[in-house]
């Protein structure tokens, strides 16, 4: 049994009776290095821990829940959180659907998501990676004028969830990342490009690949212009497609559906996307950096098929949203750290790969726009109405090949329309940090706004 799980059980036992109680503990160690001009600019090493408490009272009129949290595992912080949660409970509306997760008999998969080398790798090797990353970008191409930051970061995080309903779960995960932002410059002005490499441990990282990715993205945008407005097919690169998939995933949350905040509501079984489009949420696939054994309520994570060959087949649920919808949890509770209560969400999204690689997709599309970065996603996408409008940089596709770079434009449609207008799903899957993997994705009927 992990030490953190033992601690959680001790808190639960000492919490006293009268209520159902759920204890969520988290603990983590982080390292961040930022290199600049061959030196360490910033170095942060930190350990943090915290507790989230939920208490529940069931009565004939329905259940009430109260929550509290503290950024410390000190005895007095824990006691204060328990006291506050109990007090908060008194004000909640009685609700027949409110509950905590009950063990559902689904066995957790066994995954090794923590690499001990994150902790054992000497700090100086991590620093050396950040400095090397910066050097490779600066020296790699004489059009690179500046490297705004070159970063190495890693973490080891663990969590434990126990409840008076019999939930008893603990899990841990590690991650390591390098990322770099390059500024390329010529007589036409400045352009930027961002590169990254991600893994579970420092040894997984490909510093040279991150450097060349940033350099390539920045330099090939040099001379970018704002084109005339048009309607065409857009090919999203893996990173921007992953961002799109994460947005779609938000609307596939059963919680958004039961709250009347998803454009997928009441459409189960319908054709919502092109037949080439199959969406899975599978945290048990260890290729996802966000893979997990347990969900945010301590139920086993599982593979859920949400859109199958274009047909809306399922939503993801936590315990409460599932009850409201008259179904069972899909093991999809997510929580935003100690301060966040569980809600239903996708954790590890992917599209079933298609047949074509990126070059083959360009060939089929012949003419359109290649989207290499998205901006304003939080302000320009409305997941309730489905309205979609984001800023992009990228390149024109002409006669099946990449042509001139373009910038200061938006691409727009609606999420509903875009799903139906998917033309090709690439086979070039990239596993990325965040909650979705990505691959090239071609969508027709996109409005491009320029001059």
């Amino acid at each position: 049994m992990s030490e953190l799980l033992a601690l959680a059980e001790g808190i639960l036992e000492g919490a006293g009776g009268g209520h159902e109680i759920e204890i969520y503990l988290s603990r983590g160690v982080d390292t961040e290095v930022q290199a600049y001009q061959g030196e360490v600019e910033e170095l942060t090493t930190a350990a943090s821990s915290g507790i989230g408490v939920r208490v529940l009272r069931e009565s004939a009129g329905g259940a009430q829940v109260g929550t509290a949290w503290a950024g410390s595992l000190d005895e007095d912080a824990v006691q204060e959180a328990l006291r506050e949660a109990r007090d908060n409970l008194r004000y909640a509306t009685q609700d027949e659907y409110v509950t905590f997760a009950r063990p559902d008999g689904v066995a957790a998969v066994s995954l090794q998501l923590t690499d001990p080398s994150v902790a054992s790798t000497p700090l100086k090797e991590k620093i050396a990676m950040a400095i090397e990353l910066e050097r490779l970008v600066r020296d790699g191409d004489n059009r690179i004028r500046q490297v705004e930051s070159a970063n190495y970061s890693d973490y080891v995080a663990e969590a434990a969830i126990v409840s008076t309903f019999g939930v008893r779960a603990s899990y841990s995960r590690s991650g390591a990342f390098v990322s770099v932002e390059a500024i390329a410059s010529d007589s036409s002005g400045d352009q930027t490009g961002w590169g990254l490499s991600a893994g579970r441990a420092p040894g997984d990282l490909d510093v040279a690949q991150a450097a060349s990715d940033a350099t390539r993205r920045a330099t090939r945008m040099l001379g970018a212009r704002k084109p005339a407005s048009m309607k065409c097919t857009a090919v999203f690169d893996a990173r921007s497609a992953a961002t799109l998939l994460a947005i779609i995933g938000g609307s596939l949350s059963g919680e958004a559906v039961v709250r009347g905040r998803s454009f997928f509501a009441n459409r189960l079984g319908e054709e919502v996307a092109a037949s080439s489009f199959t969406v899975l949420d599978d945290p048990t696939d260890p290729r996802h950096f966000s893979a997990s054994v347990y969900d945010g309520e301590g139920l086993a994570c599982r593979r859920n098929v949400l859109i199958e060959r274009g047909r809306l087949s399922a939503f993801v649920y936590d315990s409460v949203s599932a009850r409201r919808a008259g179904t069972a949890s899909t093991g999809s509770a997510v929580r935003g750290g100690i301060a966040g209560s569980p809600s239903a969400g996708c954790r590890a999204l992917q599209l079933v790969p298609g047949e074509l690689n990126q070059a083959e997709i360009f060939e089929r599309v012949a003419n359109g726009i290649y989207v290499e970065s998205l901006t304003g996603v939080h302000s320009g996408v409305n997941p309730v109405s489905g309205d979609f409008s984001v800023g992009v940089t990228g390149m024109m596709i002409r006669d099946g090949e990449l042509a001139e770079p373009v910038r200061e434009i938006t691409v727009a449609s609606t999420l509903q329309r875009m799903l139906l207008d998917v033309e090709f799903v690439g086979n070039d899957v990239e596993w990325l940090p965040g909650h979705a993997a990505g691959q090239s994705l071609a969508v027709s009927g996109i409005s491009v706004s320029g001059v």
Binding site: W69, K226, G380, V384, G386, G391, T410, S449
Partner: protein
């Protein structure tokens, strides 16, 4: 109120931070209490309370900053964190350096009604009141979510150069989000109230007005048509349009981007960078506004800084570290999300001074364009100046009149370019609260401006 941590402990931590040759050391101790209440689908779903307390210590040696933080405020723990932060120093040269702190510069809370003194029942009443007002606006309202949050943030910051200051920041926030359902699908409306004040800002009237605004916005948008695609004249209503300046130039005027030559505004002090109608100010001293601060998170007093005056770039925004390299003083813009984060250059309340035009007159003199009643968030690439921001409530302007509502979309532009395109500024100044994200840290900011017009901006809609 008792001190967060004893002066002697701060002095001991600073001494430990400098013992390996650090040139500068700082201890930031924070104690934050937050509470929130959420009403959704007419149910009070959750009251939550939180407490976060700890210290962040940084040590600067040459060009390098070391940083460590701890949730344990004992002397032993602070000294240990100080030594961890000092680990970036290459050793030698240090020795014993005594740090003696002078009198503290301490600022009281600006709240008349502290969040901790408000009965939770009263909070619930306000949530329900907002819900009822929103639903009363029309049967099309299908979903109402109301959230109330408050935070009480006390901090003390001390550094090896003798800065020793404390602030007590109380912030209160109330959001109403509505969904309206019609034949053509669902639309959303949103209104925030947010102030660096106590519970007194949440009068029944203020809450009702926010609820009405959010509901009517959603209902109006049910009739919305797709926004146009291409370049048009844009009239920004007073208030949320200030985010344009936050994105289009504010971030590019932060000294960290400037010093790395990663901003289109680097090297342009004294030059004409905007229309002469543009005078842009960042001002931490606007009492009660969301970005108000008595002292910043480095202990420097909040200040009113003119960034662009009549179109001429006058200065950038500075934190301690960037100012130190330039041999000048900080402008009071050193901010951090929490003790777990390093401070960096951040905006406070950023606004465009009002002009002399009449707001209705600006619309009347626009033959065709887009009227933006409310902007959502935005994003900028400081190196290229390209920015986007989202319209959450917008209308067509046809023949000098505001006509059809438009569906949500982004505007896109380039900072230096759009600053030249300001051709009218009215006299109806107002401000809006927002949350600014930078390098993974979020801080509360205010934005403001009067109704104004831009001669041509790309609207990212779908209608040709």
């Amino acid at each position: 109120m008792p001190a967060l941590v004893e002066r002697e402990i701060l002095e001991a931590a600073l001494a430990a931070a400098l013992e390996r040759g650090g040139e500068f050391a700082e201890v930031f101790v924070e104690d934050r209490r937050t509470s929130s209440a959420l009403l959704d689908q007419r149910r009070v779903e959750e009251l939550s309370s939180g407490r976060d307390r700890g210290a962040g210590i940084r040590v600067v040696v040459g060009e390098t900053t070391g940083f460590a933080h701890t949730a344990d405020l004992s002397e032993a723990s602070l000294v240990q964190a100080a030594r961890a932060a000092a680990g970036v120093a290459r050793g030698g040269g240090g020795g014993v350096r005594e740090v003696r702190l002078g009198p503290i510069d301490e600022h009281p809370s600006r709240a008349d009604l502290e969040p901790g003194h408000v009965d939770k029942e009263r909070k619930i009443e306000l949530l329900r009141h907002a819900d009822e007002v929103a639903r009363a606006q029309g049967t099309a309202i299908s979903q109402v979510q109301v959230a109330l949050g408050d935070s009480t943030r006390r901090f003390v910051v001390a550094n090896s150069e003798g800065v020793f200051a404390a602030d007590h920041q109380v912030r209160t926030r109330f959001n109403v989000s509505c969904v309206a359902t019609g034949d053509a699908g669902m639309q959303t409306g949103y209104r925030p109230i947010a102030a660096t004040r106590g519970f007194e800002v949440l009068s029944s009237e203020a809450v009702a007005e926010a609820a009405r605004g959010a509901a009517l916005q959603a209902i109006t948008k049910l009739e919305a048509r797709p926004a146009p695609s291409g370049e048009f004249a844009v009239v920004l209503a007073g208030g949320s349009g200030g985010i344009l300046f936050h994105e289009a130039c504010g971030h590019g005027l932060e000294a960290d981007a400037i010093m790395k030559q990663a901003s289109v505004y680097a090297g342009k002090v004294g030059q004409l960078v905007a229309s002469p109608l543009v005078t842009l100010v960042d001002d931490g001293t606007v009492d009660g506004e969301w970005g108000y601060l008595a002292v910043d998170d480095e202990g420097r007093p909040g200040a009113r800084n003119v960034l662009i005056e009549n179109g001429v770039l006058t200065d950038y925004m500075w934190d301690y570290l960037r100012a130190r390299k330039q041999g000048r003083t900080s402008s009071g813009n050193g901010r951090r999300q929490s003790y777990q984060h390093l401070p960096m250059v951040r905006m406070t309340n950023t606004y465009l001074l009002e002009g002399e035009d009449d707001a209705d007159g600006i619309v009347a003199s626009t033959p065709y364009g887009v009227y933006v009643a409310q902007l959502g968030g935005g994003q900028v690439n400081t190196a290229t100046g390209d920015f986007v921001f989202g319209m959450t409530s917008a209308f067509l302007i046809e023949n000098g009149r505001i006509t059809a509502p438009l569906r949500d979309c982004n505007l896109i532009g380039n900072g230096p370019d759009v600053l030249q395109r300001v051709d009218a500024v009215a006299n109806d100044f107002s401000m809006m609260p927002g949350t600014c994200g930078k390098n993974g840290q979020s801080v509360p900011v205010g934005c403001g401006q009067a109704t104004m017009r831009l001669t041509g901006v790309t609207i990212g809609g779908t209608a040709s």
